[in-house]
């Protein structure tokens, strides 16, 4: 997941994270309130132009979109089966445009920037006494940081099965995976407290 960021100097890279997230949100609203096919097509063209000008090698740029594109296609096909044709085209264009811009934002924004923005967005919630804004940012950072760690651990557990000639089964993978993760959580929590990351909170 963290590999989604690509270093670069495009306009998108230089824009502040806040503007990008704001545009993404507005785009989401516009796309879902219009049923105008030419307008939606224009949306796909513009977002496509943005995405493919980030400096990513073309093959890699396409490869990133593949899984999402497939899902979108299926949604469109479904829509085609049960609705009039223009509904399917709308869905296809709408989701494609949104996907392209979201991909452009994630490719040009570092986790650090994301966290800063999330923390800021959560400030009103903090004032309402609901959550500590810094915690929201911290939680997001932790997830992004530990997804690869968990996948690596899955790999290690898989190998442990192979080395002992044991067949992989969901439970014999998940149980040690969760136990090891819980144990790490204790250590990580101590490390966070020791670095004073939440000092101002408690």
């Amino acid at each position: 997941m963290q590999s989604l960021y690509v270093e670069g100097t495009s306009i998108m890279h230089r824009l502040p994270a806040r503007s990008k997230l704001l545009v993404l949100a507005i785009l989401g609203v516009i796309l879902f309130t219009t049923r105008n096919i030419p307008l939606l097509s224009l949306g796909v063209l513009i977002t496509g132009a943005v995405y493919f000008s980030l400096g990513l090698p073309f093959g890699q740029a396409i490869a990133r979109l593949k899984p999402v594109l497939l899902t979108i296609l299926v949604v469109a096909l479904f829509s085609l089966a049960f609705n009039p044709w223009h509904g399917a085209v709308e869905a296809l264009l709408r989701l494609t445009a949104l996907m392209l811009f979201a991909a452009a934002v994630t490719a040009t924004t570092t986790i650090g920037e994301f966290i800063d923005e999330i923390t800021l967005l959560a400030r009103p919630l903090e004032r309402a006494g609901l959550v500590a804004a810094n915690d929201v940012g911290l939680a997001v950072g932790l997830v992004v940081r530990f997804v690869p760690e968990i996948l690596g651990r899955y790999q290690a557990i898989k190998e442990a099965h192979a080395a002992r000639g044991i067949k992989l089964r969901p439970v014999t993978v998940l149980a040690p995976l969760i136990i090891l993760t819980l144990r790490d959580a204790d250590n990580i929590a101590a490390a966070i407290d020791a670095r004073g990351v939440r000092r101002h909170v408690s």
């Binding site: 963290q2 940081r145 760690e149 670095r195 000092r199």
Partner: protein, 224 residues
């Protein structure tokens, strides 16, 4: 620095991880050794307030650790498993993370991060992904992240774990060069062999408090 243990003890349920301990630490370098489970990490966690004593008091630079809800800012801690200590994926972001919300401007934070990396000639690590670092590089990243917040006392829990001879030597050199006060916990006895004061723990009790040679000799007896 002045760390005072006044009859401080830690019990988990019925098990006494650390028996009541009274001592004062003022030396710039202090070693801590002992068998697995003898109470070394528990002792260290008392100093930065991560663990509160279940009896007695621990006073660091005049402040009772029990008075603060969280860990003390003047004590930095490098954990036994530094990979768990790196919170953000990119080294630079992780080092900056400890400075967030302390009223520094973005430029100040950047300058501090650069200075921290600069101390160890490690500017090239700034943009690296933490999980791709080698063991030695990981130790350095963890050190920077802790030192950047300006602690007075540094605690290192087994800093040479899994390191090869070369990285071990590097970490040893770094420890020797630190101007900060340092408390070093290690099974790697060479690391503390030159320290004027080494504490030996055994079954939760202080079994020796002496210059390195003497404490290590006593440790070898216990382990035999």
């Amino acid at each position: 620095m002045e760390i005072r243990f006044e009859g401080a003890a830690v019990t988990y349920g019925a098990r006494e991880a650390l028996s009541p301990l009274t001592l004062t630490l003022t030396e710039n370098r202090i070693g801590v050794i002992g068998l697995n489970g003898s109470g070394k990490t528990t002792f260290a966690r008392l100093i930065n307030g991560l663990t509160k004593p279940t009896a007695g008091r621990v006073i660091v630079n005049g402040r009772d650790t029990a008075d603060s809800h969280s860990a003390l800012p003047e004590v930095g801690f490098i954990f036994q498993q530094p990979q768990n200590q790196i919170i953000l994926p990119i080294v630079r972001d992780d080092i900056a993370f400890g400075l967030k919300g302390r009223g520094f401007s973005k430029a100040e934070i950047e300058a501090k991060v650069e200075a921290a990396l600069g101390r160890f000639d490690a500017a090239h690590l700034a943009a690296r992904r933490a999980h791709e670092l080698s063991g030695g590089e990981l130790q350095i990243a963890a050190l920077c992240a802790v030192l950047v917040t300006g602690p007075d006392i540094l605690i290192l829990d087994e800093p040479t774990n899994q390191l090869d001879l070369k990285n071990r030597a590097l970490v040893q050199k770094i420890i020797e060069g630190l101007p900060e006060n340092a408390i070093v916990i290690s099974h790697d006895l060479e690391l503390v062999a030159h320290f004027g004061r080494v504490l030996l723990f055994h079954e939760g009790r202080l079994a020796a408090d002496a210059p390195a040679a003497e404490a290590i000799a006593r440790y070898r007896e216990i382990a035999a």
